[in-house]
């Protein structure tokens, strides 16, 4: 009896241990590739096509929420197993993973450098390190910035509703704040913007250096542009002109549905989120126009290949195909994810694209022209640790818990700690 018990315990343990180690070559001799993604990359159809044209390859997509994706990937890289063969790295965290480049395949080994000219220069640079010698990831989409507004709420406040006229209202962010004052004076019960945090991020994304200088040194304390962006956003918060909402949260969705705010900063990829949140009832009410200030970039991703994968060569071929111009164009048409390659975003067909939900706004033109003037912000290695600190500081101002000055002081202290 006792020996049998010990035997069965040993057997159970053995099973647990064996189950822990998955193989990556299927029983049918096919090469199995996994793709670790978050949100919608628009790859479903493309992957089926790729499998049809490459009968020896089987592809599996794993989609989780972005936060979970980053955390999972970090633990998988640390543990040396479990990561997908190809993983998506979002622009906000790519710098963080760049610091652990020895866990990734240098795509230059497979000839990635020959592809360099496909992408906008800055997009290519974000995915490389060591002065361009180490290619960490191939760019997927990008997030050039627009500004979304509700035409009906603008009309109620006596503001113009035509998107060209609206764009003329706010050449700079200071003008945007003035429009907010006019809006609030007429319709005090509607918030002008969803959250000061996104205004802050949008302004900062239009500068070339934010929290870190291009040599990766921490400059948030001395960079006037950080302070200026913070003050602009905090002013909106102090005057209770923001909805004090957590961006893209459930509360944000409800507020969209209730029409309780009139503008929101919108990178190309957020159009789908606004549409989903506001629902069919608001079709045609939202519109897109040029954002104040110069063009900026927020978001967009890269496909990278962790070293622990068993088939880096095949994974590279797939990543290369998925990020190629032809595929980026198709993805844009299906999901609205903005291509990061000039050849595609200057394509006549892409430029002619309109988004019916957003009052048939010419999104191709708006986002492509914003992409042209774009000066991307340098993201430091610790950018993703420092950034959120200023976001929560603005929330404190919006909640009325702190004055703008108090929130700034506390944020700066926390940011300096995080940057250590």
């Amino acid at each position: 009896m006792s020996t049998r018990l010990v035997g069965s315990v040993a057997a159970t343990l053995a099973m647990v241990l064996v189950a822990g180690c998955g193989g990556s070559s299927g029983a049918d001799g096919k090469i199995e590739l996994s793709l670790g993604l978050f949100s919608d990359f628009g790859y479903d159809k493309l992957i089926e096509e790729y499998m049809a044209s490459h009968p020896n390859i089987k592809i599996e997509q794993r989609k989780v929420k972005m936060e979970q994706h980053n955390t999972q990937l970090a633990t998988q890289l640390a543990g040396g197993r479990g990561a997908a063969d190809i993983v998506a790295l979002e622009e906000g965290v790519v710098s963080q993973f760049r610091a652990s480049k020895d866990k990734f395949v240098n795509l230059a080994e497979y000839g990635a450098k020959d592809l360099k000219d496909q992408w906008a220069g800055w997009k290519w640079n974000q995915g490389t390190t060591d002065g361009g010698e180490f290619v960490l990831g191939l760019g997927t989409d990008m997030g050039s910035l627009g500004l979304c507004y509700r035409a009906d709420l603008f009309a109620a406040a006596g503001l113009p509703t035509d998107r060209t006229e609206v764009a003329k209202l706010w050449p700079t962010w200071a003008d945007y704040v003035k429009v907010a004052d006019q809006f609030t004076a007429k319709t005090p019960n509607v918030k002008f913007v969803d959250t000061g945090r996104n205004v802050y991020k949008a302004i900062l994304d239009q500068t070339e250096e934010g929290y870190f200088a291009k040599d990766d040194s921490y400059i948030a304390e001395s960079n006037d542009k950080v302070k200026a962006a913070f003050d602009t956003a905090a002013a909106l918060g102090t005057k209770q002109q923001t909805g004090a909402l957590e961006p893209f949260s459930q509360d944000w969705n409800v507020a969209l549905k209730q029409g309780s705010f009139a503008t929101t900063t919108c990178p190309a990829w957020s159009l789908a989120l606004i549409k989903a949140g506001a629902g069919d009832a608001a079709a045609g009410k939202w519109d897109v126009t040029k954002a104040p200030g110069e063009g900026g970039n927020w978001g967009g991703s890269f496909l990278a290949i962790p070293k622990q994968g068993k088939h880096p060569k095949e994974a590279y071929e797939l990543a290369k195909w998925l990020t190629a111009p032809e595929q980026q164009k198709r993805i844009f048409k299906e999901t609205g994810n903005l291509p990061s390659q000039p050849k595609v975003y200057q394509d006549a067909e892409v430029l002619a694209t309109v988004n019916e939900y957003f009052n048939s706004a010419p999104v191709g033109q708006i986002f492509a022209s914003s992409a042209e003037s774009l000066k991307p912000t340098y993201r430091g290695t610790k950018d993703s640790k420092v950034g959120p600190v200023f976001g929560t500081a603005l929330t404190r101002v919006e909640q009325g818990k702190q004055s703008a000055a108090e929130a700034w002081t506390q944020a700066l202290k926390e940011a300096t700690d995080a940057a250590k």
Binding site: K65, A74, A78, S249, D251, T392, K401
Partner: protein, 325 residues
């Protein structure tokens, strides 16, 4: 206990007749001696792998500068602990943890006791009620948290809507420390009150009925009987629930995490000014958002110590209170 008694009885038998039935006897002696250990061995084996090893390994990690992805960056001794004791965010998280624990556990166990007493009175359809009180516990914590987060919404939440009827201004449940603690505690109470009530009920049903009968004859009221007979009789169960609730309550994570709308957006600090950041949330922030595994391990060890201390204090306290009768 049984084992030792068998051994002492067996010992003289060996000296009297060593040659009689030697093999069979030796086997049964071996059996009596070691089988109990073998039977409980799997638990200790599994505990060793999944409990003790991580515990020791975490202690080891906490003595290093350890980055989540890049691993060990060198031995730093107690530097992480020194930093922790001077870290106001740690003390804030500790305060939040203890506050949430008291706010959720004390009313929860009292309510469970009352609920169990009601269920013990032989209601109609008792099976229905008993299953009913357990229902909140079988629903996934994520679902509960999402629903409660909506209830406690600032702009369109039903709680603020109802408070409006009695003339109370809308409360920003996530901005104020006390309000957020109240909201999170409500979630915890909702999930665990019924579960504890069932444990109490099971214990109450084994209290001999004649004790109540004689107490009635002596003229004791329901209230008096409850505190003088029921509560002291179910003391072991109360001690058990106090200890398990302490362990669970101090490790609060899912409820405050999902109450924070920032959790999905990679900046979950448990409120804009860490109003409801518990120790586990702080550990999560350090380890999985800032990738500082060494410091996170330090927080984990401090949490372990805190749980141990509070559990012992609660155990002693409850034993004394419930023992008085």
């Amino acid at each position: 206990m049984t084992v030792t008694r068998q051994e002492t009885e067996a010992a003289p038998a060996v000296s009297v007749s060593p040659s009689k039935e030697p093999k069979r006897f030796r086997l049964s002696s071996w059996d009596a001696r070691y089988t109990p250990y073998l039977i409980i061995a799997p638990f200790f084996l599994v505990f060793g792998i999944f409990g003790l090893y991580p515990l020791v390994y975490t202690a080891w990690v906490s003595l290093h500068d350890w980055q989540l992805i890049d691993g060990n960056q060198g031995f730093v001794g107690l530097a992480n602990y020194v930093e922790l004791f001077g870290d106001s965010k740690f003390w804030n998280a500790l305060f939040n943890t203890l506050s949430l624990f008291v706010l959720s556990t004390v009313p929860q166990l009292l309510a469970a006791l009352g609920l169990a007493a009601l269920l013990d009175r032989g209601l109609r359809g008792s099976a229905f009620w008993r299953a009913g009180v357990l229902l909140p516990n079988v629903i996934s914590v994520a679902a509960v948290a999402l629903v409660f987060a909506q209830f406690f919404g600032r702009d369109f939440g039903i709680v603020n809507f109802l408070l409006g009827f009695v003339g109370i201004d809308p409360i920003d449940w996530r901005a104020e420390t006390w309000a957020s603690h109240l909201a999170v505690s409500t979630m915890v109470m909702w999930r665990w009150t019924g579960y504890n009530a069932l444990l109490y009920l099971a214990a109450m049903q084994s209290v001999p009925k004649d004790m109540y009968e004689s107490a009635t004859l002596d003229g004791a009221g329901r209230w008096r009987m409850f505190w003088s007979i029921t509560v002291p009789s179910i003391r072991p169960t109360i001690l058990f629930t106090v200890v398990t609730s302490t362990i669970g309550g101090l490790q609060l994570f899912a409820e405050p995490a999902l109450f924070d709308p920032g959790f999905a957006a990679n900046n979950s600090t448990g409120g804009s000014d860490r109003q409801f950041q518990t120790l586990v949330l702080y550990m999560y922030e350090k380890g999985f958002r800032l990738f500082d595994a060494g410091y996170a391990a330090t927080v984990a060890w401090m949490l372990f110590v805190v749980v141990l201390v509070v559990a012992v204090v609660n155990f002693t306290l409850t034993r004394r209170i419930a023992g008085k009768g």
